[in-house]
């Protein structure tokens, strides 16, 4: 009897999962976007390593605590392209950080800025 109950429970949750379209909670994978991120043409290997390292220091604004490189969210991928392009255009880290914080606030920084509201910390 108990086994039957567990089986029904398992089956119903499975059926529910089947009924939930994948794209209802997550945005669809955009083929162009994925291609653009994965095949970004860096000028040199050093630049690629540097940019990827830098992107790891920026928090994805949509996620709870993943960085721009780890996250697969639509916004993180878009931002990855933006960061790649800005580095490619030889913009400084400071300029990129300013671009990011102007739009998404200090949340994107793992290291908080040293300013009046953070003196206490």
């Amino acid at each position: 009897m108990c086994l039957l109950f567990i089986f029904t429970l398992l089956f119903s949750s499975f059926a529910q999962a089947q009924n939930t379209p994948l794209n209802s909670t997550f945005s669809p994978a955009n083929r162009d976007q994925v291609k653009q991120v994965e095949t970004f043409n860096f000028e040199s290997n050093e630049q690629q390593t540097g940019t990827i390292k830098f992107s790891r220091e920026l928090r994805c604004p949509q996620c709870l605590n993943q960085n721009l490189m780890e996250s697969n969210s639509l916004i993180a991928k878009d931002l990855r392209i933006v960061v790649y392009k800005m580095q490619d255009e030889a913009q400084t880290d400071k300029q990129i950080i300013e671009f990011m914080t102007q739009r998404f606030g200090d949340f994107v920084l793992y290291e908080p800025k040293f300013e009046p509201k953070t003196y206490l910390l």
Partner: protein, 163 residues
């Protein structure tokens, strides 16, 4: 002493679901309008038919939370609120047919298929709503699904000020 500082910080309700970003003008853009196919720019906020404020709602047909917000937007439109849509990374045909089926609360819809305007706005995820005044300045923003409670608490006060 330390405890009270922490308690004060924890009780700071200001940031509930509003992202604190300095008041800034709506980013400039030149994108097509979903229904008419015409090019529109940030000047659309300066000549809205009624009222001081326009609500800009970021949505997509693939976003299920947007669907649950939709009836409330229809209600706001009925009450005479200017609503402009920002269709984020969507298929225009699917977006159009969804609106045909469920009703259209938007006076105009900006097609942001590449997500560029969303990045300039600082969009974190759909749905998201912005209140923009006639000078084209962003007065406030709300992340997540709008409902009567959030409307009364965070957005309605702006409309009362102008009355």
């Amino acid at each position: 002493m330390v405890m009270s500082v922490f308690l004060l910080a924890l009780n700071n309700k200001e940031n509930d679901n509003q992202v604190k970003v300095k008041a800034k003008p709506f980013p400039s853009f030149s994108l097509t309008e979903l229904q008419s196919g015409q090019l529109i720019t940030e000047s659309i906020f300066k000549n809205r038919p009624r009222g001081e404020y326009t609500l800009l709602n970021v949505w997509a047909s693939w976003c299920s939370a947007c669907k649950s917000e939709h009836p409330f937007l229809l209600k706001l439109a009925e009450q005479g609120i200017n609503i402009v849509g920002l269709n984020f990374r969507d298929d225009p045909q699917t977006a159009k047919s969804l609106l045909n089926k469920t009703g259209n609360p938007y006076q105009q819809i900006i097609v942001d298929d590449k997500g560029k305007l969303a990045i300039d706005l600082g969009v974190i995820g759909t749905p998201e709503s912005y209140l923009i005044d006639k000078q084209g300045l962003i007065a406030t923003r709300v992340n997540g699904v709008l409902n009567q409670f959030i409307w009364d608490k965070q957005l309605q006060p702006f409309f009362e000020k102008t009355e």
